[in-house]
């Protein structure tokens, strides 16, 4: 994010208002983790405009919606593991823009994907680029941060598991266990054929994968497939 303080504050304002396009909005969201001034602008605009949410008439959600949310929460009722250790190497000095470009350069440009998304962490840091090709295969490429260890390294004794959830479905389907060495991973025929708007998640599971067939550990990364832009 460059430009004058005034430009940046207007960028924050339009981000909160919602008038940025998908690309600009994602760029602001990614920058928030490493740009405290921008984050402060966004927080100030969020507070300024928040009373406008009262103009949306309240409406009760479907009665089963809480159950659907709870089914997607990791594991049984136990405290979520502190995750900060997992991010330290990443958080210190990593340049998000450089990281994204490194990741993009990592993907061969041979074939045009049908759908794609950037899988981000809960701190909105991009970690993987996911693409679905026209035959239904999925490719993941780890985004390499400019500094420090790749955040996609797996802790000992655990494995990262990839899940897909199509729009309207209530439980995700396991697509793959990811190899320990991060890099480029191809899943030629996943259990779920990718569709537009499919949610892709990576959870941290015990060795061998989730024993229950659903995510039991924290969701480390997630993103929603959208149609790849032409050219």
């Amino acid at each position: 994010m460059s430009g004058t303080a005034e430009d940046r504050d207007l960028l924050a304002a339009e981000y909160v208002l919602g008038t940025l396009d998908a690309r600009a909005s994602a760029a602001v969201e990614a920058a928030l983790a490493t740009d405290p001034a921008l984050a402060a602008s966004v927080a100030a605009w969020t507070n300024r405009l928040a009373p406008l949410t009262r103009l949306a008439p309240p409406e009760a959600p479907p009665p089963d919606l809480w159950d659907r949310i709870e089914a997607r929460l990791p594991g049984a009722a136990r405290p979520a593991p502190r995750r900060s250790w997992f991010w330290q190497g990443w958080a210190i000095g990593a340049s998000l823009a450089a990281a994204v470009f490194a990741g993009l350069a990592f993907i061969p440009r041979a074939e045009k994907p049908a759908y794609m998304t950037v899988l981000v962490s809960d701190r909105a840091a991009p970690a993987w680029i996911a693409q679905a090709d026209r035959t239904g295969g999925i490719t993941l490429a780890a985004v390499r941060p400019a500094f420090g260890e790749p955040q996609s390294a797996t802790p000992d004794g655990r494995v990262m598991q990839l899940w897909g959830l199509r729009p309207g479905e209530t439980a995700p389907t396991s697509l793959a266990l990811l190899p320990r060495t991060p890099g480029r991973i191809s899943i030629p025929a996943p259990a779920l054929r990718p569709v537009n708007n499919m949610l892709i998640e990576i959870s941290l599971e015990p060795e061998g994968g989730s024993p229950t067939g659903r995510p039991t550990g924290p969701i480390l990364f997630y993103g929603r497939l959208i149609e790849a832009p032409p050219n």
Binding site: D9, L10, A13, E14, V16, L17, G18, T19, D21, A22, S25, E29, A40, A43, T46, N47, R48, L49, A50, P51, L52, T53, R54, L55, A56, P57, P58, E59, A60, P61, P62, L65, W66, R68, I69, E70, R72, L73, A77, R78, P79, A80, D122, R123, P167, G168, N196, N197, L199, P218, I219, Y222, R224, I226
Partner: protein, 179 residues
């Protein structure tokens, strides 16, 4: 304000992995938040998907909520709006700008009286009243219904460049008025 303090306390518990706290946040806020998603998406299935995703984000990001930066309701509302806007962008924002539920002149000053129930809303209403009608309606259509610049332009029958500059100047006026 005690509602805000309660919500902030619940979010602090959510940050430690307390599922019951998340459920309590849901019980207090889901009707308001679903309404926010519906105003943008106007589709119950899509708004349900958005609310699911948004609560998963609340679960993951509760530790980032900082009560000194603003009220919990505003933080929650922005997570839902961002998630709904992403969904609207992903489906190409096929919002019909002639949808009658957007209402003709839906944002006349009298409607804005709804804002005035709380002090911060009253200030914002007074500041919005300083804007001309069309720039004000543009900002409200974008915020409440998630309309993009081109959709606001179509809706207000105004050239795109004019709408963009209305919105930018309107935001600057609001910032100055609210400071």
């Amino acid at each position: 304000m005690s509602e805000q303090a309660d919500l902030a306390g619940l979010l602090a518990s959510v940050a430690t992995g307390d599922r019951n706290a998340l459920k309590a946040v849901y019980a207090r806020q889901s009707t308001r938040l679903f309404g926010i998603a519906m105003a943008i998406l106007r589709d119950r299935a899509a708004a349900s998907d958005v609310l699911q995703d948004a609560f998963l984000k609340v679960w993951q990001r509760a530790g980032q909520f900082d009560p000194t930066r603003g009220p919990a309701e505003a933080w929650l509302g922005q997570i839902v709006r961002n998630t709904a806007l992403d969904a609207a962008r992903a489906r190409g924002r096929e919002v019909l700008t002639d949808d009658p539920s957007l209402g003709d002149g839906a944002f006349e000053p009298s409607v804005l009286d709804d804002l005035a129930e709380a002090e911060d809303g009253a200030r914002l209403r007074d500041c919005l009243a300083r804007l001309d009608a069309k720039p004000r309606e543009g900002i409200l259509l974008a915020f409440v219904h998630g309309l993009s610049h081109p959709e606001v332009a179509e809706r207000l029958a105004t050239p795109l460049g004019t709408v963009k500059s209305w919105i930018r100047r309107g935001l600057l006026t609001l910032r100055e008025c609210l400071s």
